[in-house]
């Protein structure tokens, strides 16, 4: 009897432990997105087939275009199987950090400029120039002369596309206000944008229409200053330069548009409304500065963003001092290989096909210059013909103007994640009128400088 009881205890213990270990032992590769592959087999390799893990944002990875591309890729390279981990953009950086910090194996990670520099600074990424050579990509020449290696002489990311910023405007709002459309080639100055935004702002059928739309992203506050300083977000000793008078001027410009002229949504409403960067396409705004992704994500997708109005495009506004010049906030989205990748060569092969095949199919022009850009421009022009946008405009604004002046879109060289996060947290104080700009900028600089120095120490 006693023995039997003991055996029950041992059996119960064994069952419990088995359950717990089974629950903990499974390597999770579940995805957050809806459409991508869910659980990968623990054993990645069967025979000679190699499985690569690709971490991407769900805004890309959950699209039919991406899935079709992965199928084409696996057909073309039957020895490579692709497992995509899809994460919504707003959760992406946390997920990426946790995965990389916990040593989870990933072979390729998507990132914008801030994300990839953040990963470089944290030592997450491997240099890729030698592996790229093996798949026939020359990092020094295949992405144009403006693409440079990092300070240590290495290339850490495989560029997908460079953002091309422009002014989008709602023609109906302009018509309703009796205001002329902006010139398609001659950029407005920021002062002109402020005046026009004020004239466009009105209440139509009880609904407020704002002349200017902005996102709660750094460049909408300091981007004008970046044009004035040639993107000098850091001092020569690599500390924050955000208190530079030109950045201050930039932020005062938006304050004037928002709080004095009432031509942009007050920031407290923007935050409380959970306003999204795609909210512009609701139609209640006159102008917005946006990159080519507005065309990819919304303008050409009328089923998702239905509208009864046409939009137009014009060059990005510039400071008075730069009048007549075509300027752009430069930021590169890219794919990078983490240090612990087991299949860097296959990952880069996927990256090469990604830019050559998938990126092009989404309406973005890859930086990889072995692509025929003309077809890309023609496709965009065809998609936007209902909005009366011409092929010449597309070429001029979507990356075909060789004379465009690129300045940094955001600070990326040191503690970029902290820089942006601290800036956005603190700047609200100024725009809600709780403090003057000087002390706010001084506080931002102090905090960012500390973050930079701490990161250097680490």
């Amino acid at each position: 009897m006693k023995k039997r009881r003991m055996s029950y205890i041992v059996l119960a213990l064994f069952l419990c432990l088995s359950l717990v270990l089974a629950a903990c032992g499974g390597k999770e590769k579940a995805t957050n997105g809806s459409g991508t592959k869910d659980i990968a087999q623990d054993n990645n390799e069967t025979g000679n087939q190699v499985t690569i893990e690709v971490l991407n944002i769900s805004q890309y990875a959950d699209t039919p275009e991406y899935k079709a591309f992965v199928e084409r890729f696996e057909e073309k390279y039957p020895d490579i199987k692709v497992e995509t981990i899809s994460v919504p953009h707003e959760q992406y950086i946390n997920k990426r950090n946790i995965m990389l910090a916990s040593g989870e194996k990933v072979d390729l990670i998507w990132g914008n400029g801030i994300y990839q520099y953040d990963a470089i600074n944290k030592g997450f990424l491997m240099p890729i120039e030698e592996v790229a050579q093996e798949i026939g990509v020359d990092m020094t020449t295949d992405f144009g002369s403006s693409f440079k290696p990092e300070k240590d002489g290495h290339y850490y990311y495989f560029p997908i596309q460079q953002n091309n910023w422009m002014l989008y405007y709602n023609k109906k709002v302009f018509d309703d206000a009796g205001v002329d459309y902006p010139d398609p080639y001659e950029p407005l100055t920021w002062e002109e944008v402020a005046d026009i935004a004020e004239r466009l702002t009105q209440t139509v059928d009880g609904q407020k229409v704002y002349g200017y739309f902005y996102n709660h992203w750094g460049m909408y506050y300091y981007g004008y200053g970046s044009q004035l300083t040639d993107g000098k977000f850091y001092t020569d000793d690599l500390l924050s330069n955000i208190d530079d008078p030109e950045f201050k001027r930039s932020m005062e410009w938006l304050y004037d548009v928002m709080n004095n002229r009432g031509a942009a949504m007050p920031i407290s409403q923007y935050i409380s409304n959970n306003t999204d960067f795609l909210s512009y396409w609701n139609g209640g705004f006159g102008m917005v500065v946006g990159a080519q992704w507005y065309t990819q994500l919304a303008a050409t997708k009328k089923s998702e963003f239905p509208r009864d109005w046409k939009f137009g495009i014009a060059p990005m506004p510039v400071p008075q001092e730069m009048k007549g010049k075509h300027m752009n906030w430069s930021s590169i989205d890219s794919l990078a290989v983490p240090k612990n990748s087991e299949h860097p060569k296959e990952a880069l092969l996927f990256a090469k096909e990604y830019v050559s095949d998938y990126t092009l199919s989404t309406g973005a022009l890859p930086m990889y210059n072995k692509i025929d850009a003309n077809q890309y421009y023609e496709d965009i022009a065809e998609q936007l013909k209902d909005d009366d946008i011409t092929l010449e405009q597309i070429i001029y604004l979507f990356g075909g103007d060789p004379d465009v002046i690129n300045v940094a879109e955001k600070p990326v060289l040191a503690a970029p994640q902290e820089y942006e996060s601290i800036f956005l947290d603190q700047i609200i104080i100024y725009y809600t009128g709780q403090d003057e700009l000087d002390p706010v900028l001084s506080s931002i600089k102090d905090k960012v400088d500390r973050a930079i120095l701490e990161q250097k120490d680490r």
Binding site: R5, Y8, I9, A12, L13, C16, L17, L19, V20, C24, I93, N94, N97, I98, L100, A101, S102, G103, K122, G123, F124, P266, I267, S268, Q269, I271, S272, N273, N274, P338, K339, N340, Q417, E418, S421, L424, D425, Q426, I428, I429, T432, Q434, V440, S443, K447, A451, R458
Partner: protein, 304 residues
């Protein structure tokens, strides 16, 4: 006869042993779960706070007390520390007082008691995220009912979630509103456990309603009050949801409490060791507050 008694005693002992054994068996899953998901991670936080671990390169370096030293000189830590206590100062008394008042209402012969009880409990059983969405709409700076009403009276109301003076108190009130239903339930159970004859005796002695409440009710529900005080303090120190979902610790760090500071340091700035050091400090603060209350209870908690 003696033989039978002995046999009965032996049977009763073996039954007791069997029950104890079965009790242990039933406790095993919970014990394993607790060890794996609570005790071990807690232990790991202590380890992590004195080591720098880089899982990408599989390196581990002993740092001693350097993270704690850094913490003492970190303005953000002290601001988060101050915010946490500001939150506690509002959240703890408000939750306890409201919970008690609500329980007293339910304990009295109020009309529609069942409906009021359900009304009081709803916030507690509703998902936090859903309630926060409602609060966000409720406190919308221009279109929310609160500010619409205030503006209709010609006032210039604050924009609660982006105002450094208002954001934290508002989050504390939201936290209190969310948790008060639980406090109400426990207070109600305690009130129902107070013997009626004590009220009758005190009435005969000439005690009025207030005196009965002060000298009979409060002492007899003091064990529950003590328990609730402890869990409210612990809950207040761990406040996180409102900050994460409504303000993201802002504006200008004004709603960054220690828990949100830990989250941001670990998962935004990727400094797990430093975040662990802050976690250890939070643990010590909690421990100290609990111990103060534990030893202080002798003066005001009355066990029957």
């Amino acid at each position: 006869m003696v033989e039978t008694k002995k046999r009965r005693a032996s049977n009763s002992h073996s039954l007791e042993r069997a029950e104890r054994r079965m009790g242990l068996i039933f406790a095993i899953p919970s014990f394993i779960g607790y060890s794996l998901f609570v005790a071990l991670p807690m232990l790991f936080v202590f380890v992590l706070s004195v080591f720098k671990i880089d899982l990408m390169s599989n390196t581990i370096t002993f740092q001693g007390m350097s993270y704690f030293d850094k913490l003492l000189h970190d303005d953000d830590f002290w601001k988060a520390f101050a915010n946490t206590f500001k939150y506690l100062v509002i959240y703890v008394p408000l939750t306890l007082l409201l919970g008690l008042v609500m329980a007293l209402i339910l304990h009295s012969r109020v009309y529609l008691r069942g409906m009021i009880r359900a009304f009081f409990i709803i916030p507690y059983i509703t998902t936090y995220i859903a309630t926060l969405v409602v609060w966000n709409v409720f406190l919308h700076p221009t279109e929310g009912p609160v500010n619409s009403l205030l503006m209709s009276w010609g006032l210039n109301p604050p924009h609660y979630m982006v105002d450094t003076r208002w954001a934290l108190p508002v989050l504390a009130v939201i936290g209190s509103w969310k948790d008060v239903g639980f406090h109400c339930l426990l207070f109600l159970a305690a009130l129902q456990g107070v013997p009626r004859d004590l009220y009758e005796a005190s009435s005969i002695d000439g005690a009025n309603g207030l005196a009965r409440f002060r000298h009979v009710t409060l002492p007899l529900i003091s064990p529950t009050s003590f328990f609730l005080l402890l869990i409210t303090i612990i809950g207040g120190l761990q406040a996180f949801y409102q900050m994460a979902l409504l303000t993201k610790g802002g504006p200008a760090f004004s709603t960054t409490t220690l828990t949100y500071h830990i989250y941001r340091t670990a998962f935004e700035y990727y400094d797990f060791s430093y975040a662990s050091a802050v976690g250890v400090i939070l643990f010590l603060i909690t421990l100290v507050l609990v111990l103060i209350n534990w030893f202080g209870q002798k003066k005001w908690v009355f066990y029957q």
